[in-house]
């Protein structure tokens, strides 16, 4: 009997050697004359365990990870023994990398996966497997109902945008549905520029049909006939996989002039991003799709009224659109039952930085930051105490250790001064130099500024210089005052969030680690930032 071995075909897994491990195992199996099939699904998002090797025995997938190339020979003795000797899962336990039956692994079992329910389990490009594990149910329901009831479902579910601004998804759909226009567009924002985030990419590589299905639901709700996926240029593997998924979807009648034989037509074009952080801002993104410099558009008009090619456009993050599939499949109430306050449903948090168990943790809103970092993440990778956590991407504030108990909802995090954003969580231990982090924030802005408005374009460059001078310790008081002034100006007067939010990480770094700036510890009161 052929043994199936699963090794993720996922950008992160490959980056840590998954392709090499797969080749090594394949060669070893040949040598052992053990018939194996190496399957390459997406990743389960347990990045700490990648390269993760799973072997399926009697329907149970046993995991080993992270597998190094030195470990392959020993592992193969267990999972593809010489001359077809029977495999005995009981001996797996003795292997130091053994993770057990993955479906019961605590990291996954403690999660409540809606978006990532299929991730790592199915072949990303197999529509049958997608459907077997619950895919397309939402679309079928949507096709059977009408625009208004889809919008009602999405609205009642409480779904909010996952791209950063957390705008209610139902309201956007409604506005676009009501807007007048011959053509309407659904744009999926897969530019994923926030530092420490990777959920969009992971989902697109592991379960691309879910995004297509989500876009179709949004199209049915609004009457849009064309979709664009704007994908970050640094994701070539994603582009290839998602592109293939689009071809398959067309072949299966999921996209095209008549969706599943209905009167609705919809097709999706994949666009590769222009490679700047600002391209992720929705109006710049539209400019970029239209072939122009990604400069922020002024609003009004809003994209829902006059967006892409001047037509009504719904622009949503990958996760927002994908969430629509389970809402339509399971009903708005089931989704609304999850979460807390006005943050409903689940959020895939992405644990990154100095963390032991980095990866995607999809849980309902309301979990505390501490639970995510300590219970899922296992604390810092270095084992040293945490000093700072940045949430919400490069423009989010640094939170200090005293703020770790904040419940992860949009409101609670906002009142703690933080940002939920795209759900990225980047952890730093006490060896971090907060002044260096502040400098990084300014340098990031200087590198990514579109160049349109003065405060961001020039202020960020000056910010880097001031922080460099602060490092020398000379004229400290004067330089800090200058930095404060600069941050006020950038906040008050930048044209878009890029420039106006850069002071967030800078000033919060100063609050958390004044000593790194040469100031006495505790000298900056949190309200100053």
């Amino acid at each position: 009997m052929t043994t199936t071995i699963f090794i993720a075909r996922d950008s992160t897994a490959i980056a840590v050697g998954a392709d090499g491990i797969a080749a090594q195992i394949s060669a070893q199996c040949d040598q052992n004359q053990h018939p194996v099939q190496i399957a390459r699904p997406g990743s389960r998002g347990m990045y700490w365990a990648e390269p993760l090797v799973e072997v399926e025995i009697n329907g149970v997938r046993h995991g080993f990870g992270p597998v190094t190339s030195d470990a392959v020979a020993g592992l193969c003795d267990l999972i593809c023994p010489l001359d077809r000797a029977p495999i005995d899962p009981k001996v797996f336990k003795q292997h130091p990398l053994y993770l057990g039956d993955l479906s019961h692994h605590a990291y996954l079992a403690a999660q409540q996966r809606l978006l990532f329910a299929r991730a790592g389990l199915i072949d990303a490009l197999d529509l049958t497997q997608y459907e077997r594990l619950g895919g397309l149910r939402g679309l079928r329901r949507a096709l059977a109902s009408n625009s208004q009831s889809i919008i009602d479902q999405i609205t009642e579910s409480g779904l909010r945008g996952r791209g950063g601004a957390a705008f209610p998804a139902g309201i956007k759909l409604k506005a676009a549905a009501e807007a007048e226009g011959v053509n309407k567009y659904i744009v999926c924002n897969a530019d994923e520029g926030d530092s420490g985030t990777f959920a969009d990419r992971l989902l697109m590589e592991a379960d691309p049909f879910q995004i297509i299905e989500g876009m179709l639901i949004a199209a049915l709700a609004t009457g849009a006939t064309r979709g664009y996926v704007y994908l970050r240029s640094e994701y070539p593997l994603t582009a290839s996989l998602f592109g293939q998924a689009l071809v398959l979807a067309r072949e299966h009648g999921l996209l095209g002039p008549s969706i599943y034989g209905s009167s609705h037509s919809f097709d999706i074009e994949l666009r590769i991003g222009a490679g700047a952080y600002i391209c992720g801002e929705e109006t710049s993104l539209l400019e970029s799709i239209e072939g122009r410099r990604p400069e922020v558009r002024s609003k009004p008009p809003l994209p829902v009224h006059h967006g892409l090619f001047n037509s009504p456009t719904v622009i949503n993050n990958v996760l927002t659109l994908a969430s629509m599939t389970s809402i339509m499949a399971e009903g708005a109430q089931a989704y609304h039952d999850l979460g807390a306050g006005t943050s409903r449903g689940t959020q895939p948090f992405q644990l990154a930085g100095n963390i032991r168990f980095g990866g995607v943790v999809e849980v309902p809103f309301g979990v505390s930051l501490r639970t995510l970092i300590e219970e899922f993440g296992g604390g810092t990778a270095s084992g040293r105490p945490i000093k700072a956590v940045q949430t919400g991407g490069p423009l989010g504030k640094y939170l200090g250790v005293r703020q770790l108990d904040v419940p992860m909802t949009y409101e609670d995090l906002a009142s703690a001064g933080g940002l939920l954003g795209h759900g990225g969580i980047v952890v730093f231990d006490d060896s971090v130099d907060m002044a260096q982090q502040a400098r990084f924030a300014m340098a990031f802005c200087a590198a990514e500024s579109c160049g349109k408005c003065t405060p961001c374009r020039i202020g960020s460059v000056r910010g880097v210089e001031i922080l460099d001078r602060i490092k020398t310790g000379k004229n400290l008081e004067k330089e800090i005052k200058l930095l404060d002034e600069l941050c006020v100006t950038m906040t008050d007067a930048s044209l878009c969030a890029m420039g106006s939010m850069t002071p967030n990480p800078v000033l919060s770094a100063l609050t958390i680690g004044p000593e790194d700036f040469g100031l006495p510890a505790g000298s900056r009161h949190p309200t100053e930032s």
Partner: protein
Amino acid sequence: MTTINIDGSDYEVAAGENLLKAALSHHQDLPYFCWHPSLGSVGACRQCAVVQYQNPEDTRGRLVMACMTPVVDGMRVSVKAPNAVGFRAGVIEWLMENHPHDCPVCEEGGECHLQDMTVMTGHTSRRYRGQKRTFENQYLGPFLNHEMNRCITCYRCVRYYRDYAGGTDLQALGSRDRMYFGRFEDGVLDNIFAGNLVEVCPTGVFTDKPFSRTYTRKWDLQSAPSVCQGCSAGCNIFASERYGKLKRVHNRYHKDINGYFLCDRGRFGSSFVNSDLRLRQAGVRIEADLFQQVSIEAATQHLRDLADSGDVVGIGSPRASLEDNFALMSLVGEANFSCGMNDVEAAMMDQIFDLYAKTPDAVATITALERADVTLVFGDDPMNAAPRVALAIRQAARNVHFDMAVQAGVPTWQDAGVRGHAQHALSPLYIATPLPTGLDDVARQTSHAAPADLAVLGLQIADQIASPPSDDAEGFVANIARDLLAAQHPTCVCGTASAEPAVMQAFAAIITALIKAGRKPQMLCTSAEVNSFGVRRFAGLSLQGALDRMQQGSNAMVLQNDLYRREIPAMVSAALAGAGRVLVLDSFETATANAADIVLPVTTYAEHTGTVVNCEGRAQRAYQVFEAEGQDIQPAWRWLSDFEHIDDVLHACAALPAFEGLEAVSPEAGYRTATNSRVPRATHRFSGRTAATAHVSVHEPKTSVDTDTPFSFSMEGENTGQAGALIPYVWSPGWNSNQSLFKFQQEVGGSLTGGEPGVRLGFAPSKSSADGSASSRTKPATGEVNLIPHPQTFGSDELSSLVGAIVERCAPPTLWLNPDDARALGLSSRDGATWPDAKTTYLVQLSDQVTPGNALASVGVGTGQSVLPRDAVTLIKDSAFTPPPDLIARG
């Protein structure tokens, strides 16, 4: 009207305006960079911050960008609040950090908006000690310098050049703190309105290249309000002099004509005054090509003798002022006077006069063209004939943007919002011309055909207007007719450049049909020269008639007119050879002057005061800027008449019925300001007055007293509060740059405080009624073509072609042929071709837009030769011709 409160005082402002424009309209000092009255707001520079308060209790307020904030009734703002002041100082400090310490060597210095704003915000000391970003500059052609280090990234240049003027070869390149404004590689900036970048850029990145070669600070210039001599648009200019040379020309705002912008022919071509071909002494010919200098008295005697001879014709000129033409006409008598245009052009002018006289309400101003919702450009390309008119038409193509914006709730001044929203939408613009035009990129539909065929097309349009096409009728003619009928402001533009009266006839039919259909069309007809619309008001001989008389032995006086540019050379030569004595009054050596017996030097527009009439029928005064060098040079009217003052000539001229109302053109010499002062030509900072003429004599000369105008030749006087026609330059305390204009306006973009310069004259039907039937031109035999003149933006105009920078911009003499004809004639692209009496060889260009059987030849370029419509011309291939390098192929 809306009431807003700025720093405790209430102001009435236009509802829906942005706060910056509203504040400037009340002459407040509020710094800004990226906003421009013609370009709207984008909120990029963040310089215009003010504090806005939410309610009466609010004491902290909130920083807002004035240019991005709509005024609302009862709104309370502060320009002077400390946080607004501090913020603006912070922004300027940032902008200045990268700015080089260039002011002493920068052409912008002394009239630099960045300097003004820096001083205004109180940024006086540099804290920054780091590196500045630097760039490499580009070669941008003969008109503009490029000094990118001075850039403050306000984006005005690209917004003007691309969005307003329709240029494509200037871009915002790069990103973040390395934004670069230039071309993709070195090369001539293509757009014929590029020169406005000199005034649009608030710093010294784009500066006037010819001016910077013999540079003078603004405060050392002597200036006067003048009128561009480049075409019949009559754009208002500030002309400035130093050391007896015309140094440069800046835009002089006129609400109804040129607004804030000129064309490059006007801006850079106006310095023909300095030409090496200037005539500075009177001379009498003693043998072929040899003149002997004579005294003023002797020259005057020659003139008198000729006048008294009893048989003299006077040939006037569309490039000379009304006063000069009037003096000649009075001297020789109306029956012996010709206005100096060739007969085809004169006939077309008469058609225009008839049309204008019949439908006076339909005669548009140039800026009114910008308000059209449907435009038809008919007969010739205004980019060549009267470029500024074309720039106005380009704006009309955008009108639908503003309608869309209003519907979407976007303020019309919110430039980024309006453009982002409207995208590629365009108001209908139809173009029917012999060749593709510079406006085709914004046209809905174009049709290119020979003038005679255009005339037929025009009559069809008129027919379809009279009996409207069905809604589903398609095609060029039906679309135009339908759209013109449906328009609020249907607007049609024509001109004399096609040299085909049938074109004008058809145009008149279109206008008449629209009026009959109950519509209120707007129209404008252009012609080639600055005073065509003035001089044609004098009745008299046709040019042909005058030349015939010369050939039969009459004496002749020719005023500022090179006859070789008007008529077939052989005919002109025959007339000059047959004439008795020929006296030429001109400012330049011309082919005609060289053939004269007596030549008298006359002043140019910059050295005398004169009145011209533009294509809207507006008489305008161009005031003397400086005194001509060379004692013998006088205004032509002084040579020709006994009038003492220019106002006397004007009064005499105004007594003619055709010039009713002309006295109102401008205040008279006796005008004084409220403080009983003259208006100074020099700025109050004018320096070196005692040394300026030291190379001639170390004794400081007494300043001349100007008896002809209200201006002084010095800094004495008052440049404020005067009549709108008498603004010699703009300056206001704290505002040294051209941006100070708003202090002279009632409101930004509105009327001048002292009223609009000039007066519009009425039109009377012409006496010579032109033949109305469309001339049918014979289909030429094989090996022959019908020749059609094709004027160019650069090179066809006589005066600007005297300027080196303009010559650099001229394309070689070119002949456009249909490929089928070329094949039949054995000619290919880039061959040389000529015809029997052509003075030069023309570069052959093939275009399937040329109607078969026709050849279009560029007028004047390089040769100064007339090209008149002629049937059945035999083209000859010039095998010795080497084509000039093909710039396009290389690009």
